[in-house]
Assembly symmetry: C2
Homo-oligomer: 188 residues x 2
Amino acid sequence: MSDQDKLTEARNSVIDAFGRSFALYGWPEVIGHIYGVLYFAEQPVGLEEIAGELGVSKATVSINVRVLEGLKCVRKVWQKGSRRDYYEAERNFTKILVKIVKNNIAKELEITNAAINKSKELLTQVGNSPDEDLRNNAKAHNRLIIKLEKEYKWYGRVVEMFGAGEKLWNTVTFKDKNNKDDEQVGLT
Amino acid sequence: MSDQDKLTEARNSVIDAFGRSFALYGWPEVIGHIYGVLYFAEQPVGLEEIAGELGVSKATVSINVRVLEGLKCVRKVWQKGSRRDYYEAERNFTKILVKIVKNNIAKELEITNAAINKSKELLTQVGNSPDEDLRNNAKAHNRLIIKLEKEYKWYGRVVEMFGAGEKLWNTVTFKDKNNKDDEQVGLT
DNA sequence: CAATATATTTAGAATAATCTAAACGTTATA
DNA sequence: TATAACGTTTAGATTATTCTAAATATATTG
């Protein structure tokens, strides 16, 4: 293997790792690959160039880079004198994680609260049923729904705290006697 | 719509919501549906019964209930006098979230650290190249890899802290003046 | 040991996601 | 206003995932 190939391989192995990391969260690997190209770029990169580096179509990059933008993993940056869209990576993983967790849980709460409200409405109606068994079933089910609602309320708050912690973490330095390289890298 | 249908609908709308919530994280909806059946069950439920309730094959339940077990969303419980496998839901979402985040990040670290180590090894080799440009490229890339390594170290620790927070959260009660239903539901 | 009751694996069909190439729309500039 | 340089959308091919039904494996009971 030539030295040039080794350099390429060093780069690609990490880009590949990003791909598999994103896949852990249900995203297509190419999203991680795009993020990888941007992670290693010293300057903001255009769509065409990303596509070229990865050997995928511009359409794929166009679509997926917007997903990355939505996840706050990359930012679009404007460059004077060019009409291209350029992108750069957000390299603070903690920031990304917090945003994604908060975002997902917000969606989760939205989905579930809608279902909970619908359920409560329906169960209230069944509460007036002439059939006693149905009324009792509705009552039992309603208890579970109320419990679920409370659980989600709690859950939402834990996530809020997780998000609030972000600010705290950016003031912290971890001490590790085994590693003198230790330092604060999470600062934005 | 009959009262019986309303009851069924109340139940199914939440089961459906669980399906869509799991889909947010890249899982098939049926996983959320299975979780939903177990969430609403007063007693542990067997595979056959879950399959029947949802109208899916037993194979699907068998495979996906093990995924849920891996995610610590459900537990297998033994029932005296039966040879069936019974399952019950973990209903503490915070617990589930912390486990999943920690688990995913552990995998992520494993994937990325392997790639980082491989890269460092390769770049060290390129560091001895007779070609000066290649040596310089390797050096520049190595700096980025070192930075990445530090970022992941930090990231891993933030997640550790998130996990440690679980214990703390179980001692907390949130105050909310707008809601007198408020109480500690996160306790296990 | 045979019969039964179970869970799991497998092969293949159905479905859904992803990618590409080409068409399209938009904006800037000559 | 025409052209060029983009990004985006669309239609369809490809690929991967998910599901089912049947076969298989495993353990339990009589």
